[in-house]
Structure formats: structure tokens, C-alpha cells
Symmetry: C2
Subunit: 253 residues, 2 copies
Amino acid sequence: MTYSPRTRLFIEAPLTPGAVIEAAEGQAHYLMHVMRAKAGEDVALFNGRDGEWGAKIAYPAKRKVHLEVGERLRAQYTEPDVWMVFAPVKRIEFLVEKATELGARALHPVFTRRTTIGRVNRARLLANAIEAAEQSDRLSVPEIPEAAQLFDVLGAWPKERTLYFLDETGGGAPIVEVFAAARSYRTVKKPLAFLTGPEGGFDQSELDALRGLPFAVPVGLGPRILRAETAALAALACWQAFCGDWTYPGDEG
Amino acid sequence: MTYSPRTRLFIEAPLTPGAVIEAAEGQAHYLMHVMRAKAGEDVALFNGRDGEWGAKIAYPAKRKVHLEVGERLRAQYTEPDVWMVFAPVKRIEFLVEKATELGARALHPVFTRRTTIGRVNRARLLANAIEAAEQSDRLSVPEIPEAAQLFDVLGAWPKERTLYFLDETGGGAPIVEVFAAARSYRTVKKPLAFLTGPEGGFDQSELDALRGLPFAVPVGLGPRILRAETAALAALACWQAFCGDWTYPGDEG
């Protein structure tokens, strides 16, 4: 059977041949009223574990949508092991969307001294990430841990994961030099993370602490001042391009 | 005299010591009502030609703001010779803001077959670019030519400028390979441009035409599908990082 899905949906349920999955309320609404999908129309499903599957849409009752799972279209693919750790900024939803497109495996909001946003709506960020994953052909949705204090996150940091922090004071080496040392990722696949500050930047105590950590490396992004979300995306794009999964053609499981 | 400007403003007038410049209406409003700047307060000025200058704010009459130019703070700096040529997308203002932060020298909207946006408000894009230039510490505002048809732009293309087009069909080499060949920019400073399509991508006739042009090079950005504006920014960031002015510390005139 061939499938020509117009739509990709992330679901929680296991994907196995012949499974019939009831679409969640929001997805049912989307299929019926936004996509105006007909019964029998194809849709692609992924759950972050079982790859991508072709399915058919069925309407067994009013306001009920079933997804009848058929064949697997793609094997599961795992994004490179890069996290984006970021102080919440005004454009946090944009940051989450773009970091998802750019293949971050996890997105972790952290509160810093100068963070002006008091509360992070995790459910909303997750919804943004799911939508971006669906549209970008990802087979997984990035993990989004609960927002936490920067110093708590640093205190519990897994030491084998290099933390590249974007040092807007100009203290970091050019990112090309940092990455020249990191190119070995392709073969050894070392875990890493990027860290960006809030609109007002890191304060001195945070910079001092970061500079003293053995797993943290300051990174510079050129002579212009980048907004926090721009810096996050630029660093992630550069890393994917030069060390991550943009460096080899096609999928690698 | 030392200056501690809270604000940077782009102005058109020549900047010379002792010059008194009348602030434009929008800037006067911004200084008085948004920044609540006091008389005698410092401001930094740039015009894209004369470097950055310190100035003092004066209020000679009601609703009139004078900028009294003092000393030059920085010599003129020119962004690398990279253009961003792009099909207008829904998030065009975001694209313009980010491409300005990332140091594009010119931003050129082009209409393609699948472009759904019928009209480009050039004045509004210019305002976005000016604001982004002011905030990003740039000493110039990117040029924004009038929107034009893609094929007209390609027909009049300056042949010495390499055109890297983002090929969402997967026909391009990984950007790291393309840039490995372009690393010589640092010494020879060859002009270049990136080209991105609309939300729906280039159509087949456009791809065929691009592939036949001697100055055009297809570029690939990995296994995920990027939105048009994400692709534009990712490519520009990668280029700055690996060939442009993020590769050397400090300013080069």
C-alpha cells in the first residue's frame, strides 16, 4: 500500500500494524475542521519510538476520529544528543519552534538572575514543540523538563556533557575554533548542550561560575550583539552543520 | 569626554564633531516618551558611513529634540559582502530582523511561482532593519531593494557573486562541504548571496533554472524540513561562523 499523507501527527500510543488509535480531541478537530480530511485519507503518525507509520482516517461516529495504522514508512531516527538550555525570553515560543526544527533533543528553560519572565508554561511549549516536530519531519518531540534555577541545573549537571555557553561579553573563542575541536562528534557522538542567557545577559556571578566549571566552554558569535533567541538558533545551526546530522547525507539511526 | 549611551540611533545626516542634528519625529518621540531621556543624556549615532559617534540630547523647544554630536566612538565597519535574497514569507519581518542581526549587507525580496504574499511593504521592512541594526551594534543598515521577480533578478545577476540557493529537495551538498570550498573568503572576500524560497518551496522550473546557472550552488541543510525563515537564518549564521566575520576576533574595516 502506498501512502500520500498531507498531514503528520505525533501521538502517544504504540504504533503497530493494524492498530486503531482514537485521535485526541485537538487532533480530531484539526483533521475534521482545518484539514477537512475525508474518510480513507492518508495520514503519517510518529510517537518518538516506533518510526513513522502510514495510517487511514476513519469516522466511526460523530466527532470521533480513528487512525487505522498500516505500514511503517520510516525507521525510528534519533536526533543528535544536543540539548538547548535557555533562559526564558519574550520570544520563548519562537525559540522552542526553531530549536525543534534544528534538531535539539531536549529544551530546558532555566531561570537566571536577570530573567524577567517569572513563569514558564511548559504545556504550551510542548504544544509548540509537537507542532514544529510534525512540520519538520522529525520522528521525535524534544523533551522539555520543568523550568529550574540555573545554579540547580549546573549543580546536577552530567559531567560528560559539554556545556557551550554563549558569552555575550566577548570572552568566548570564535565558534569555528570551538567546533574544530568538537568535530569528532561524528564518530564518538559525545553529548553536549548550549546555554543562552536572558535579554539582559548573564550577570557577573553567573559568568564567574560558568567559567569555573570544568565541563563549560565559552563560545563567541562575532562582533554584533545577537538577541538571545538569535544566538541560540545560530549556535545550534552551526553545530548541526559542522558536527551534527547535517554533515552526513540521509538518516543514521 | 566619555559617553555612556543607553540608546543607539541610525540617522541619515553626516556625523562630524560639533554638528547639531534635529531628531526625526519618530526618534524624538522615542527619546522623550519611551526612553524618557533627560537633556544632556548621552546617545550613540551612526549613519552607515562615518562610524559611531557620541552625542548629547538637548530640548531646544517643545517637541523638538537636538542631537549634539561630540566625539567618534568607533570607526566605520562594513559587514561582509553577503546578501540574503528571499521569497517573502508570512514571517518576513522576523526574517529581516534576524538577517540584520546576523550581518547581511543587503536583503532582497523576490517573488517566486509559489509565493503567496502579493505585496512587500518596503518601508516597514526598512524600519525593522533599522531597529535591528540599532540594537545589534551594527554601524550600517542593510540595503533593501524593491521586491522583484526571481527570474528578473537572476537575469541581471552580477556573475562574480556566488548564489547559494537552499535546495529543500535534498539536491544540495551538506553546507559544511560547500563552505569548505568557500573558506578562502577570509582572505579574498568574494561576494556571495543566499537564496531561500517561499513556504511551498521553489517549483520545478525554478529549480531547473537555478541548477543551470554557472554562479548558483545548491546547499543542503540536513535531514529535517526547515521553514523558509529558519533555513535563511541557519545558512547565514553558518556562513558568518565559518567564512565571515565571526571567524576573526574584533573589527576589520
